[in-house]
């Protein structure tokens, strides 16, 4: 049995899938084939019926997806968090900020270069809502650059630009081309990042492999899966916190 699952880049880049997939195969017999794309494209593929399930992190988009009837429900699997990354010398002094809003305000004030994903992804939407909360609505392109690419490409560009940017923790930890970039701010509850599993509704796409989807969902949300997620560490740091209910 095979299950085609569209996942976001951040999930795949964390390396967690390399640990989980062989276990799923062993325990459930399902061969999970990951199609790694942006959140928008993942939803698009799912709407067309080209995958059997998706694993993404953009609550509003997911809810709309369910409302349209493409998935019966969303199942929380785990969360991690977003982190603010920037040049080591931290010209906007964000590392001493008391909240992520304050950090962003300082960046705006210092007109330090900030690189936005600009691709309408889960991470991008999160970033926009944070700016909103920080009350910085006018962001001059002289320091606020809109990149328009995936997490990895944005990190590469940011590394060469010495820019501040928002990343998910997993992508950041796994990212190898850090150069002068450092993790400057993290830990604000506002940076919480929930991943959810959505099986495709057989009512919409009769060929969708609902059986395999159910099996994988059960495994991910079951004790084995949740334990495996909790045990996944990089340089001694846990990347995800399982929170299935």
């Amino acid at each position: 049995e095979t299950l085609r699952m569209a996942v976001t880049t951040s999930f795949h880049n964390s390396g967690l899938s390399d640990v989980l997939l062989p276990q799923i195969k062993r325990d459930t017999g399902v061969d999970v084939r990951l199609v790694v794309v942006g959140t928008g494209q993942a939803l698009k593929l799912a709407r067309a019926g080209d995958v059997d399930a998706i694993l993404v992190h953009s609550k509003t988009a997911e809810e709309a997806f369910i409302a349209e009837g493409f998935a019966p429900y969303r199942r929380k699997i785990m969360y991690n968090d977003f982190v603010l990354v920037g040049p080591a010398d931290d010209p906007a002094d964000t590392q001493y900020a008391s909240s992520v809003e304050q950090a962003l305000q300082q960046i705006a004030k210092a007109e330090a270069i900030f690189l936005s994903r600009g691709d309408d992804s889960g991470t991008h939407r999160k970033e926009l809502s944070l700016w909103e909360a920080a009350g910085v609505s006018a962001r001059d392109p002289s320091w606020y650059r809109e990149g328009g690419s995936g997490m990895g490409a944005t990190l590469n560009t940011g590394a060469a630009m010495d820019a501040y940017l928002l990343s998910d923790r997993a992508s950041w930890l796994k990212f190898a081309n850090k150069r002068n970039l450092r993790l400057l701010y993290a830990g604000d509850p506002a940076l919480f990042n929930q991943y959810a599993f959505l099986p495709i509704s057989p009512a919409k796409h009769s060929h969708a492999n609902a059986v395999a989807a159910r099996g994988v969902e059960a495994w991910l949300t079951g004790p084995k899966g949740q334990q495996a997620i909790a045990d996944y560490r990089l340089n001694g740091e846990a990347l995800f916190t399982p929170n299935a209910r």
Binding site: R4, T9, N13, R33, L34, V35, V36, V37, A48, G49, D50, G150, M151, G152, A153, L155, N156, A159, K174, F175, A176, N177, K178, H205, H207
Partner: protein
């Protein structure tokens, strides 16, 4: 800078350790691209010859169009093939999406115009030489095309090799229709894109060097087999 050196040493290490996964994606790259080049040559070379030997109303427009199609953006080709092969598309029932077959289809679309354009240009010259003789000998259109392709084979090599070059390094289209699925549709270029997005430049470069080495090897093999540049004029 030393990332370049690191890439080189990683490449050597990968090659000498005969990494199984590397072998797998390299073989898949070759399989997909060679299939695409073969199919595209079977279409493009006769098409180029046909355009050289036929005078018809929209000939010039066709040639300009073909030249322009050399600029087909891979991502757009990928999208269109995706839409056609998608479950909700007209060919969805075949279940070809996210298979090597889909990647071959996309590459064929991308490189056929290139092969046909270059072939047309090469054959036009030979046709100018042969025109009177072949007309005089009362050849059929198809005999003309066969003769021209056969006698221009050395020049046509450049056409097919240009197609090969375009296909082997292509990533935009096959990423969309193949999905870069591990062990199923991952090839060298999609792996390079993946490693680049992870910021692992050394590994990405290493895979890139292996890809270039592969291209060199294929070119070398084809040149050796076909014995170009050996004799005098052809």
């Amino acid at each position: 800078m030393n990332e370049l050196l690191e890439g080189l040493s990683t490449a050597l290490r990968l090659v000498f350790s005969a990494d199984r996964e590397l072998l797998e994606i390299t073989a898949r790259s070759l399989q997909v691209t060679l299939s695409a080049v073969l199919i595209a040559s079977l279409i493009g070379l006769p098409l180029g010859a046909w355009l050289a030997v036929n005078r018809f109303r929209f000939r010039r427009a066709t040639i300009i169009m073909l030249n322009a199609l050399m600029g087909l953006p891979p991502v757009v080709v990928g999208l269109i093939v995706y839409i056609l092969l998608s479950r909700s598309g007209p060919f969805g029932v075949f279940g070809l999406l996210f298979t090597p077959t889909a990647m071959i289809i996309a590459q064929v679309i991308i490189i056929t115009p290139i092969i046909a354009s270059i072939a047309h240009q090469a054959i036009r010259e030979l046709w100018a030489d042969y025109h009177d003789l072949l007309i005089s000998l009362n050849t059929s259109k198809w005999q003309r095309i066969k003769t021209l392709i056969f006698d221009a084979r050395r020049s046509l090599l450049t056409a097919s090799l240009a197609g090969f070059g375009r296909a082997i390094g292509e990533v935009g289209a096959i990423m969309i229709v193949g999905g870069n699925i591990d062990h199923v549709t991952r090839v060298l270029t999609t792996a390079i894109a993946l490693e680049t997005s992870k910021g692992d430049f050394a590994l990405a470069l290493a895979l890139g060097l292996i890809l270039i080495a592969l291209a060199v090897a294929v070119n070398l093999a084809i040149h050796l087999v076909s014995g170009t540049e050996r004799g005098g004029r052809w």
